[in-house]
Structures are given as structure tokens and as C-alpha cells.
Symmetry: C2
Subunit: 393 residues, 2 copies
């Protein structure tokens, strides 16, 4: 039996476990010093009250024979898919419930969607980028081309006319940079994909953080996108579901390649290799989409965005270049004094007791950059920023 050789091409260490190791070493050497993390990639605020209530009700139903639920509908319960369609309708996007697939999170679906594509396809991924896209494709032995993000294009690269690829990953608002494509920029991508028979895998995990009414909150707000894009959404950051696990993937019926409906392929893949999301979780997700749920989750989102605004303010005072932070929970800053990512990591930790994430961990174009996140508590953010303003640079 031969193992998949693709795994041998993966980098040895996970970015985040390397960070955790260095923080552990610092703590061991500095037992009295408090470490504040501005690198948390996880939510910290609890579930909304209506979500808790809905999940309690669902758990109780599961304990009684008359209301017990076993296997659910293959694409997820209609009550939740309808709620997702209503959410899209409010954004001006009309979807049919059969175009929505409830899953256990964007990470799973972004990884597993590769099953429906031939291995020979070329994949276009940005640099810097969320590492899982790259790892999943290396595991699958696929050809990856990288598209450069930089200060020059505000980390919002666009296709040039000769660019060729079969599958392209776009994440907007972006993790790690917090950068957000405008409608005009997404139209360039959609037109390019249509012209080249390419498929856009649009990671929309942070769409709920967008405050600027001019910015697109779904790829399908762009004409033609239904013919070339799959959109991946998650309740993880939107509703605090990182420990609950629920997302939804939209595969429009108009998305046809080689005469085959990608919606039917994804349905077949999921019917064979997945068995649905917990009923309790789906009722919680349904509650998150009610007016009360949206309002309660908005409060949490605004809390994180205020953290981001404070961080952005401090960086501005310090004259440090950055992007993100106004429509996303991520801030991508240029390391001061031309420090490398890891040197700045060490400097921040040693001189301020602050933890962030070295940009080079997201790709070579991240070298010299750094990521802060907005998920810490308000008090931790304030205290970290006080230390940052006082850092010995």
C-alpha cells in the first residue's frame, strides 16, 4: 500500500503551533509577565441568547420519542436553507434552497470541494493567504500558481489578461489582510473567470463584518457570478460558532462546466462522504438568522470591530502602515524598522508581552508583515495598545 506522496510535500510545522511553542517558551522564561494575545483567530464572545434558547429546545426535542430526529435532509434542513435564502434576498441575491448546502464549516467545504475537480486543473492562490487552501491542494498533488499581494496592490491582486488558471481562491474580507474587494474589482475577477472557464472559490467567511454599504457582501452581487463561482460561508465568526460548527456553501444551478452541473456533483459528493450537521446545531443556526439573532450577533461583531478600530488608531499614531480593520476582524501591518516577521514577533513578545502572527507564515509575500486580530477582550486590547505605544522602537 502506498501513501499519498503529496503529504510529503507539506511544510513541516504549522504556523500556529510554532507560534504557540514560542509563546510557551517565553512564558516559561518569564513566569511573572502577562502575555496578551492580539493573534487569537477564535471568537471570544458567547453565543447569542436566541441561539442558546433554540439549541436548548432542540436538545429537549431529541430526548423525546415524539420529537426525536435522526438523519436530516441531505443538504440540510429546509428551515435553515430557507433562512439562508432570506439572508441572501436581503442582500439582493435570489437563491433557491436547492442551491444551498448546509455543512459543518467553511474549512471542511473549502477542502472537500476539491473532490469534484479533476486533478489536472491549475489552482490560483494568493500570497499571502490562509494556509489551509495551499495545504489542501499540495495534499492533492495539484499545480498551484501564486498571485502576488503587496502594498502596491493593497493586497487585492487582480488578474492580468494573460493569467490562466482553472480554479481561483478569493477570500474577501480577507484573512490574514482584512482587505476587501470592491464591486468593480470582483467584476474583473468574474469576467476573467467567465472568459477562461475558470471557477472562483469565494471564501465569504467574514462578510458580516462589512460596514461600508458600497462593498459587496456576496460574490453573487456581481453579474455573471452564478455562472462561475461557489461561495463558502460560515457562522463561525458571524455568530460565534467556532465550537458549534456550521456553515453553508452555495452552488448555483447556473454553474455548469463541461455540460455538468456542479450543484449535482457537490450533492453527490456530500451524499456519499458526509452525513449532515447536527439537528441541534441547525436550529441554533436558524435562530442566528432571525431578526433577534442577527441583532444579537451584530452586537458581538461591532464589539470586535471596535477593537479593530482601536488597534488601527494606535498603528496610525505610530506611523505603521496597515490595511484591514474597518470591514474585517484582521489588521495586516508592515513591520516597523524593516524587521522581518519573526524578528518583529520576537521583539513584540520580549518588549511588550504581546503575541501576534508573523505574516511570513501566510506566504513569502507576508515577509516583513504581521497580523493582529480583533477577537481579544476590550480590556486586553486597551492594555496591549498601551504597551504598543510605549514599545522601544
Amino acid at each position: 500500500m502506498k501513501i499519498n506522496q503529496g503529504f510529503l510535500n507539506l511544510k513541516d510545522r504549522y504556523l500556529f503551533s510554532l507560534v504557540a511553542q514560542k509563546v510557551g517558551e517565553y512564558r516559561a522564561q518569564n513566569p511573572g509577565k502577562e502575555v496578551i494575545s492580539l493573534g487569537i483567530g477564535d471568537v471570544t464572545l458567547p453565543l447569542a441568547p436566541v441561539v442558546v434558547e433554540a439549541m436548548q429546545k432542540a436538545v429537549a426535542e431529541m430526548g423525546r420519542a415524539e420529537t426525536f430526529r435522526g438523519y436530516g435532509e441531505e443538504q440540510g434542513y429546509a428551515f435553515l436553507r430557507q433562512a439562508v435564502c432570506s439572508y441572501y434576498a436581503r442582500k439582493g441575491v435570489e437563491l433557491d434552497a436547492s442551491e444551498v448546502f448546509i455543512g459543518d464549516g467553511a474549512k471542511s467545504d473549502l477542502g472537500n470541494i476539491l473532490d469534484i475537480f479533476d486533478q489536472e486543473n491549475t489552482v490560483l492562490i494568493q500570497d499571502p493567504v490562509y494556509p489551509a487552501y495551499v495545504a489542501a491542494n499540495i495534499m492533492a498533488g495539484r499545480r498551484i500558481h501564486f498571485l502576488d499581494g503587496s502594498v502596491h496592490n493593497s493586497f487585492l491582486p487582480l488578474p492580468h489578461r494573460d493569467l490562466r488558471a482553472d480554479i481561483v481562491y478569493l477570500c474577501s474580507p480577507n484573512n490574514p489582510t482584512g482587505a476587501v474587494y470592491t464591486k468593480e474589482q470582483l467584476k474583473i475577477w468574474v469576467d476573467w473567470a467567465l472568459a477562461h472557464d475558470a471557477v472562483i472559490l469565494f471564501d465569504s467567511a467574514y462578510e458580516a463584518f462589512i460596514q461600508d454599504g458600497e462593498l459587496p457582501t456576496s460574490i453573487y452581487q456581481i453579474d455573471g457570478a452564478k455562472r462561475c463561482a461557489i461561495e463558502f460561508c460560515s457562522l463561525s465568526k458571524t455568530a460565534g460558532f467556532t465550537g458549534v460548527r456550521c456553515g453553508y456553501t452555495v452552488v448555483p444551478h447556473e454553474l455548469i462546466q463541461g455540460g455538468v452541473s456542479l450543484n449535482e456533483l457537490w450533492l453527490r459528493r456530500q451524499s456519499t462522504k458526509f452525513n449532515g450537521v447536527s439537528y441541534v446545531t441547525q436550529r441554533g443556526a436558524e435562530a442566528a438568522f432571525t431578526p433577534e439573532g442577527l441583532e444579537q450577533n451584530r452586537t458581538s461583531i461591532l464589539y470586535y470591530l471596535e477593537n479593530a478600530r482601536l488597534i488601527a488608531g494606535a498603528l496610525t499614531e505610530l506611523g505603521i502602515w496597515f490595511t484591514g480593520g474597518s470591514n474585517a476582524p484582521y489588521i495586516w501591518l508592515q513591520c516597523p524598522k524593516d524587521l522581518s516577521s519573526w524578528d518583529f514577533f520576537t521583539f513584540l513578545l520580549d518588549s511588550c508581552g504581546i503575541v501576534g502572527t508573523p505574516g511570513v507564515g501566510f506566504g513569502r509575500n507576508g515577509e516583513g508583515f504581521f497580523r493582529f486580530t480583533a477577537f481579544a477582550s476590550r480590556e486586553d486590547v486597551r492594555r496591549a495598545l498601551d504597551r504598543l505605544r510605549a514599545m522601544p522602537l
Copy 2:
């Protein structure tokens, strides 16, 4: 962009949706007649009280900032992995918690495990078999060899000396046949796998139904199995979790192929393409493994097994050959009067208003056979068997 051509090699219709369609047609043509299903592949009894209690407590924790949980440990919470290890210890199998991976069910893990194997491996699958194994491999474009199950080998095929394959699927107790391998028979498989550097994918989803103390309840009760087998377990039928979604996959550290640890490969795969199981679900699963939880779930399992015993009794009275039903919730019977699987399906439905599953849907060796399941209510089983005893054959 090219789609994965493997999908075009899949059969057109799902067995179970074809069954549902025919039942729908019957109901439409026979509005007054009650249909009783002995083909349900889903549990019907509610969650155990201690499980409900644990899940309610966990939901409440998620609603408070001080006890809220975000992303969990990558392989699943240690509290649950330890509970799984204790469960195995009671079976005489010693595992380390790092060998246990909590997942959202055996179906997902059985499908996704293929990621770690090279595409050139030959896969050995039995016929008849649970259809998802076949579909997942056809999607992946892998070479499949089928191993014949029949009345002659009691649907418990064994390897002959010249048999070659890299990956073999074994499911015991078996879906659809309910047949269970003895320790001696599993030893033959383990010895064969070790001799041929093959990996056994052991689907142990129904191990909790085994009543006969001589029968193995884990592949690891066989010497050498840790060096050649991955075991997939599920709480779906064991604890009624079909709508809650939790399972566990064991990849022993001793399982090394080509100098590479499969445990490390699976960890890498899951870290990249999966984000864990709901905290609420994991607390429910932990409760299922407590003495009270095991006892409460045992009550449900015995209820289903009594259904199976009654079905078996009726078949014996009718002189119909069958296997299964004493250590599994499935009964695999030979269609009377040499009827084909679908002819017997139609006959049963038309003359008795009973729904079962045509054996041919599980593979060509299922032609002339039929599957009953034990998950219906006791009253439905009794009424169905009364009709069965009176059927005009």
C-alpha cells in the same frame, strides 16, 4: 476547468431514493393503506437522559462568556478521547488518546480517509456492501476489486492466498447482512494484510450490538491489527446520534507504511480540511460513555435487538433463509420463490404494505436477497410480521 470524470462513472440512482420513489408511488395509488417500513436505516428511539442533560449543560456554557468554548483540540477534546480509551480498555484493547480522532461520523471519515492513500492503490470491497464505500472510490477513480459474499460463505468472505489488494474494507457486524466475523476469521484477514502490506479499513459502527461474548468487538482484539488496521466507530446507532453526528476513528501509532505514520497523515489531513466536532456534541458523547449512558443506550440497543429476534423468528417459521439479526440490527434474507430483489420488494409492498430494501442495491451478489432492519417501533414490527406470516406465497 475540468470536472472530476470519476463522478460520471457513478450509478444514476441512489438505492434509497429509488426505494423512496416507489413507496411514494404506492402511497399515491393506495391512499387508505398503511405502509410499515422494515427498511429504516435510522434509529427511532430518543437520546439517553444523561446525554440530553450533558448537552443542555454544554449549551448553557456556550451562552456565558466565562464558560464559552471556541475551537476545540484538533483531535477532539481530551475528555472524550479518554472516554473512548476507557471504553476500549474494557474490551481489552489499550489505546493512547493520541490514537483517537473524534469526527462527525463514520461516513465522513470512511470517505475522507482515502485522502491519505495514493490513488494507484487497489481497493478490495465486498459484494454485497454498504454503497458509500464503492461510490467514494469510484469518485476517486480508484481500481476496485470485489470479493464475493454468498450463502456459501455465510456472507463472510475470507482472503485466498493469491488475493492481492492494498486497501480492504471490512464491516463487522455487517451492513447490510448483519453477519459477524469470528476472532479466527478476523485473524485470517489481519495475517493476510500484514503479509501483503495492506491496510484494513474496519467499519465497526455496529459493534455495540454484539451480544455473543465470543465475537470480537474491535479489530484490535486481534494480534497484529494495530500494525495494519484503522477502525471507524460511530455513536449513530450505538447512542442514537444519527442526527447529532459523532464518531471516532482509531489510527494506531504502530500503523506505519513506507516509513510514514498513518496517524500523522490523518492528523495532518484533519487539521487542514476539518475543524472539529461541536463542543455540545462532544459533551453528549462523553455522557454516552459513562456507566449510566452505556446502560441507557444498552436499553435502546436491546430494544432493537428484540425487534430483530422477532423478525428472525417469523422468517424461521416461514422457512426463509437469512443471516444476521442476533448481533446486528440487520437481517439479510433470501427472497422466497426465487424472486428477484425488486420483484420481492414490489410483492411485499403490494401484498403486505411492507417496505424493505432490495439486496441487489448493495451489489450484484445481493440479487435474490433482501434487507430488513430492526429500527422500527415494536408495534410496527409486530404488525408487519403478522402481515408477513399471512403473505400469499
